[in-house]
Amino acid sequence: MSATGIGAAVRRKEDRRFITGTGHYTDDINRPGQAYAYFLRSPHAHATIKSIDIKAASKMPGVLAVLTGAELAADQIGNLICGWMIHSKDGSPMKMAAHPALANGKACHVGDPIAVVVAETLAQARDAAEKIAVDYAALPAVADPAAAQKAGAPSIHDIAPNNTIYQWHLGDGKAVDAAFRSAKHVTKLDIINNRLVPNAIEPRAAIGEYDAGVGTFTLWNTTQNPHVARLVIAAFVGMAPEHKLRVIAPDVGGGFGSKIFIYPEEVVALWASKRVGRPVKWVADRSEAFVADAHGRDHVTHAEMAFDQEGKILGLRAKTIANLGAYMSTFSSSVPTYLYATLLSGQYEIPQIYCEVDAVYTNTVPVDAYRGAGRPEATFVVERLVEVGAREMGQDPAELRRKNFIKKFPHQTPVIMAYDAGDYNASLKKALELADHKGFGKRKRESARNGKLRGLGFSTYIEACGIAPSQAVGSLGAGVGLWESAEVRVNPTGSVEVLTGSHAHGQGHETTFAQLVSERLGIPIDNISVVHGDTDKVQFGMGTYGSRSGAVGMSAIAKALDKIEAKAKKVAAHMLEAAEGDIEFKDGKFSVAGTDKSAAWGDVTLNAYIAHKFSGQELEPGLKEGAFYDPTNFTFPAGCHICEVEVDPETGNTDIVAWTAVDDFGVIVNPMIVEGQVHGGIAQGVGQALCEGAVYDKDGQLVTGSFMDYCMPRADHLPALRVDTTMTKCPSNPLGIKGCGEAGAIAAPAAVINAITDAIGSEGLTMPATPHVVWAALQKANSIPKAA
């Protein structure tokens, strides 16, 4: 391993601009002549818009335009779409309702954009918006997913009777029922996977700019996938043809999924810029983000697991209602289906699994992928069932897991996935040692002496990442392929630019991708630049989500580097007057096998461009290669997280006193960055378990609409985290990488809840397990008379 190659904890190249305040986030960019957009949003969860009077607003100082859904329709700006087709079990396609960027006749959630004011200053736009008179006729609203399907519930879209988008299923229901009939023990759970607000600390923003002279649009946007945004805005919204639209995603301040999607505001910023003939900037304030950014999770599930007399799992069945909100967001349909039910086998050999999922509309903000996307929900179902099953059968939870682990690979689950590699016992064993599992009883007794209840919870999770082979996702309904692209440009002086279709918004690609190049070409890391996030520079790419940038994005770079090496060897052969097959390349030096003749990297790159040593008939000048890489399978990161808590029975407060994570991410490029990803994922998972939860009242008003009401983990909610790894190489990509970005968020909620329920001796908890929830569960458990 070199000091800057694969496996080295290289300090990040991107950090200097962030620690000196010289990064370039979208809101830091200002265009000459720029005007400001402010959106008027629906205060009603569900209402007919009878009329919109913009006369007074239009006359306000500084106002350039007041635009509504009527103008949007008149200009034939198309609707936003959901790009993953799901069919119901009866074969009918999902019921995708029209989603215009500005409401047209009806508001379907609080925050639905009704009109936009464009003015010289933001303050003027905001002032003018107050003068828009909207005549609403409020309609009954529904926010709860289980209530949305009930008879008499308000109907949100005509296309979807009973507010039902699809009724999907996976697995063999009859075989599962047979397995349950033969069971010795069945564990049953009702689970609510709480709705979360992603809350990247940088709010979303967009600047639209139209160049009338050449008829091109430019969009600066807080997006995780600029090319997908361009494709959708060109092909579906119809703003401009793809070659006339440039999307730039500059520094992006966190995404966690919420910046994957194509939202109304960027469409409107582009459209308005053409309308007013000026660049138009929009930046969400936080209150706006709460009602405009896609939320995550929000499942209601009944799940059952069947065991034989030894505790071997015979089957799992689950019925889930997934809340997709008022409109179908970009990838929302895939989250509670192919990203959820396909992971219900967990790390276990489960012969039969059957899952039914109903997706519903409600009068809430659209729900889509949020860190983990479907896999945290699946892990929570599986890991709670296993833990509760162990307790009910009087078995050791770790032992029950071990007994059921998949031990042979590849392993075909009954729910599509073919796990390629793993060693689940290794991560469990290491985690038990690091967590001092043997000493837990002593620690529990010490806690009891201090009046505290101590508990320990496991989560042995699996995820499917690096999404994924394009053919596979295409057969499941995806509207796009999920390969990745790379281009490696070698300059005459030997420095290198890597253009990637991946996008970094905190993951450190400028460092890790450069580490791969440094290792392969033997050049200093400072001579390598990683270019991403601009559709005029990078030809195409699928962006960053699903822990795919290492496994897929870097594999594309590796493939391009293979081509670079092959071409450079040809140049070196001409320089060294040797046969191409005799050229060896190692540590940045080309040499002729069995001789002392060699040429340095910089000499070869220069010769590639001056082209003095070969004719154009023999070899094309230059040194630039591109590659598209399509993986052969998903990757399957897995691991064991152990959470230890202390609950104060007087207050219900939970203290996480220790956290041990042992993950198998395959080959690790930069352990420092990987650990950071795990830390952050755990924090978001702990947030879901202990304090986060979007709350709607019965009228569809978001009660938790600010950082004062929606509680996210602060530094003192968390302990220092003990993070380690085991390694089985991923056989499905050339680098052996599995991906690490979502693991913590997937593993953590079940670990926390398993720990708290262990501490209080009651399973009756819903997330978030706030002090009030835990205290109430304790009171309820204590009030039940113990059997004599």
Binding site: D27, P203, Q507, M712
Partner: protein
Amino acid sequence: MAGETAAVSMTVNGKPITANVDPRTLLVQLLREHLRLTGTHVGCDTSQCGACVVQVNGKAIKSCTVLALQLQGADVLTIEGLAPADGPLHPMQEAFRENHGLQCGFCTPGMIMTAVDIVRRKGHDLDDRTIREELEGNICRCTGYHNIVKAIAAGARAMRGGGAAAKAAE
């Protein structure tokens, strides 16, 4: 209301400035929009996240929570002024880099400005609990705080040694 402006003068990163602002202009808006000092960020509108923390007269404040007009004659230090542009980093900045105390970088300027203030108030030997409690007003969504806590402890120790940039900032 629109159209009325008022003049305010203060020192920002050692340079005297005067600006004519709408009276409702917040300090963070003056910094970002009038002075184009975009290192100070806005992450919420309820004074919770701390991405906007700067120093005013040597003390950390949330620049989204003070009107520019309240700061006539004040001495303001932002992340851009913590270390000279092309010179060495402030020890706290260096500690964040060395300890991977940042990922997306958006909360980072506020974290660093807060961290420097913690050291001013609590000294150079900071334990884990003190740092975590002192970070109550700063939210990071990427790091899980683990490496931020490590960075602040290391940065606090390094600030004892001084360093050119640290002295300049004091």
